[in-house]
């Protein structure tokens, strides 16, 4: 059984309730079409479960297949330094079909980033290291493709439709951590 290593911590981008009975972690790649398809479903789940859920997103860019994946991940981290990780995350997935360096720049403007600071941050090697650390944690946790989900730190191996994931989340909510 594959377990999330490390557990959700202060290095993560987290939404929802820190003391929620169930947690969902997604390892994603901003240019992966399967992640793009999963995005609206994950957003619905986050909205519907509200305070009953803690959701975190970690990077798993498959750069050879998806040449913009790493840049997009770094751009989201740079936005995160201005407390706008999630708006950038949403912008990227909602415009996945036209990802490019210019588009990332445009997204930054649209979500209201300080663009001078953004430019400094995307060139900070620490952000690439953060993305690489996410990737390595994914590999060590048994991620074998994207998206991969963990529910209460256990890899979810079921179907990627909303009903299946919701059912698994509800089950963990009632039984607590296993």
């Amino acid at each position: 059984m594959s377990k999330l290593k490390p557990p959700i911590g202060k290095q993560d981008h987290v939404r929802g309730n820190a003391n929620a009975p169930v947690s969902l972690v997604e390892y994603g790649d901003f240019q992966c079409p399967h992640c793009g398809l999963a995005y609206p479903m994950v957003e619905e789940i986050v909205r519907e479960l509200g305070h009953e859920l803690r959701f975190a997103y970690r990077h798993f860019p498959l750069g050879t297949a998806h040449p913009m994946a790493l840049s997009a991940a770094i751009a989201s981290e740079a936005a995160g330094r201005q407390r706008k990780f999630w708006p950038m995350h949403h912008m990227i997935f909602e415009n996945q079909d036209r990802l490019s360096a210019e588009a990332l720049w445009e997204f930054g403007t649209v979500i209201g980033l300080d663009m001078d600071q953004f430019e400094l941050d995307i060139n900070d090697p620490a952000l690439e290291e953060k993305v690489e650390a996410d990737f390595e944690s994914g590999v060590r946790s048994g991620v074998n493709g994207t998206p991969t989900f963990f529910i209460n730190e256990i890899r979810y191996n079921g179907d990627h439709d909303k009903e299946s994931i919701l059912a698994a989340l509800q089950k963990h909510k009632h039984h607590g951590s296993i």
């Binding site: 992966c32 750069g63 297949a65 998806h66 590999v139 991620v143 493709g145």
Partner: protein, 154 residues
């Protein structure tokens, strides 16, 4: 599959039309042998593409990765270029599947390699192995754990 602690059988296989590899070429390095059913699996994030992203992590563990399937050297060459892979794929092509058979990793019915992983230490001794169903990408957590254990013993 071959038992843990046994010496890995050597082989000499083509990776490209003018390059061959054997285990001896990698002495002093840990070796990951990834037997897989076929080139051109139709998904992104397939096993070989995933491993291609991990070469740096393997290198940090003094390890070299070799993929092995029954596809020909010409097929491997095209696949490697298409997916931009940066590690050798070996052609267990003639006699077909002979190396996979020696490693107990040949699917006789389908006529292709099983999805099987071996980790050898720098002396060519088998330290870990894993067999997955053909459709399941085993990821790399087991490989990294095994390499960590090998390297912590020295």
């Amino acid at each position: 599959m071959l038992p843990i602690g046994s010496a890995a059988p050597d082989f000499r296989l083509y990776s490209t039309p003018d390059q061959q590899y054997s285990i001896q070429d990698f002495s002093g390095r840990n070796l990951i042998l990834a037997f897989y059913p076929a080139d051109w699996s139709p998904v992104c994030g397939d096993q070989m593409s995933l491993y291609n992203e991990m070469l740096q992590l393997f290198r940090k563990q003094n390890a070299v990765l070799l993929g092995i399937s029954v596809d020909s050297k010409w097929c491997h060459q095209a696949y490697t270029q298409s997916r931009n892979l940066h590690f050798p794929l070996l052609a267990d092509f003639e006699p077909k599947g002979a190396v996979a058979k020696a490693y107990g990793a040949y699917d006789q019915k389908e006529g292709q390699c099983e999805r099987a992983l071996y980790v050898l230490d720098d002396s060519g001794i088998i330290r870990w192995h894993h067999l997955s169903p053909p459709s399941v990408n085993p990821g790399a957590d087991g490989i990294l754990d095994a390499l960590g254990k090998i390297n912590s013993k020295r």
